[in-house]
């Protein structure tokens, strides 16, 4: 009855560890949040399933020749999947609102303070001996404050692949939590009167401006900060395909079949880093706490910058739209709209907030390029 023994020895019950059981429970929690609460479902369902598969004992799925390990090696270690997602996001993004009111780019800059403050926080708690993050790891954790999933995954894959699972989970979870995290901060930093400010309607942006913008942005990147060129290059490529009007069939596939396929693969690949022995560490806890701070600080600096701009600018700026500068497209802009409507039921800020929102994507890609150049090398 040797075969029976082999059967029992091969069963999950005989092999499962407490850590794996805990990770399976966490994966189920991610599904619950994704399905019942609609928390970033495209990523949390796929990452969650990857996590579930990665913690099945005694079978090579997230290791060795397993499919999830192959996906990770091919698509995430090389950076290919986040870059392709960025291309797809570019093909979905309308830069009209920010081109109509270019000064809102500055709000996308201010909100990146969350990134660097968190980096400093991670470094500080390490120097206090509470945790032990290297400079590379601190930089990768900071990027959570960029509120941009593929950017976070790209940077973590380059600087701290061992933290990739926790960083991706934190980034997407907090992006989903934007409607809960941001409003109290926005209300605390603004007066009722400021929140009620109505903004002048945006002008129509011509197609030519929209075509030239991605090229202009890429040239600026090429001349000033080439290390941001992979991320912003693919983003601009997607956007150019969208706007140029002569390759619509490519743009369509990019923002549909291609981004969907890559999203599934990215989720499974990230999930392969949810193996118990990698994920269940004190560092993960630290990342979750720091990620929360990153979001809060980013939101606050965006709002404060918008207040400052409102004082300096001739046309009125509602400080709420600064909160959208963290990116978390399009959730943050919708939250701005909602909080604005509470203060003034005629105040539709959605389009005004879309400007800082997409500016925030550029801002955190710039910060990511900086990190990779200054820390990674």
């Amino acid at each position: 009855m040797e075969l029976f023994e082999q059967l029992w020895a091969g069963s999950g019950l005989a092999q499962i560890s407490y850590g794996q059981a805990a990770m399976i429970a966490i994966s189920l929690l991610l599904f619950y949040l994704a399905v019942a609460k609609k928390f970033e479902p495209l990523l949390l369902v796929t990452i969650g399933f990857g996590g579930l598969l990665s913690n099945i004992p005694g079978v090579e799925i997230a290791t060795g020749d397993g499919l999830l390990h192959l996906i990770y090696m091919i698509g995430i270690e090389t950076g290919a999947f986040p870059l392709l997602i960025f291309m797809g996001v570019g093909a979905m993004t309308d830069f009209g609102p920010v081109l109509a009111n270019p000064k809102t780019f500055m709000l996308g800059a201010a909100a990146q303070f969350g990134i660097f403050a968190t980096l400093l926080g991670a470094v500080a708690i390490s120097s206090l001996g509470w945790m032990d993050f290297s400079m590379n790891q601190a930089a990768a954790i900071g990027i959570i404050g960029g509120a941009d999933g593929p950017t976070a995954i790209f940077v973590a894959g380059k600087l701290a692949p061992e933290l990739l699972g926790a960083i991706a989970i934190a980034a997407y979870s907090y992006m989903a939590l934007v409607p809960i995290i941001q409003p109290p901060i926005m209300r605390a930093l603004t007066s009722e009167r400021e929140r009620a400010i109505e903004m002048v309607q945006l002008r129509e942006v011509s197609q030519l401006e929209k075509i030239i913008f991605p090229l202009l942005l890429l040239l600026l990147v090429a001349f000033l900060l080439p290390s941001a060129a992979p991320l912003l290059g693919m983003f601009c490529f997607g956007n150019l395909m969208r706007e140029c009007g002569v390759v619509d069939r490519l743009a369509d596939t990019t923002r549909n079949a291609l981004i969907n396929i890559v999203t599934i693969m990215l989720g499974l690949g990230v999930g392969s880093k949810l193996q118990a022995e990698i994920f269940l560490t004190m560092q993960t806890l630290g990342i979750l706490v720091l990620g929360m701070f990153a979001f809060a600080i980013g939101t606050a600096s965006g709002v404060l910058m918008a207040k400052l701009m409102n004082h300096l600018s001739s046309s009125p700026i509602n400080p709420l739209i600064g909160a959208a500068g963290v990116s978390a497209v399009p959730m943050a802009a919708r939250v701005v709209n909602k909080v604005g409507l509470e203060a003034n039921s005629q105040n539709y800020l959605l389009m005004h907030a879309m400007g800082p929102n997409v500016a925030g994507v550029i801002g955190s890609a710039v910060a990511a390029g900086l990190m990779i150049m200054l820390v990674g090398s």
């Binding site: 800059a109 990146q112 660097f116 980096l119 500080a124 129509e204 710039v366 900086l370």
Partner: protein
């Protein structure tokens, strides 16, 4: 507190200053560049006044929108042969 003088913290502060500085400089330049671009485009390619939409109909009495849709469909079909 000696920990503030910790070399990694010093490096973190430096990174923060340089990082935020670069982000701001970059996006400021982007604002300038975008404004210049828009100004040049508005100067050389002023927007065409929007046409009033009174059900434009072609000579043959077919609504122009239909013609355009059909033309687009044909073009799309042809375009799909290209690569």
């Amino acid at each position: 507190m000696t920990s503030v003088a910790h070399p990694m913290v010093m490096e973190g502060v430096q990174l923060m200053l340089i990082g935020m500085g670069t982000v701001f400089v970059f996006l400021t330049l982007l604002v300038v560049a975008v404004r210049t671009m828009s100004a040049l485009i508005l100067m050389y390619f002023p927007p065409v006044p929007i046409q009033t939409n009174k059900a434009v109909v072609t000579a043959e009495g077919v609504p122009r929108a239909h013609v355009a849709a059909v033309a687009a469909a044909i073009e799309k079909h042809r375009g799909s042969q290209a690569p």
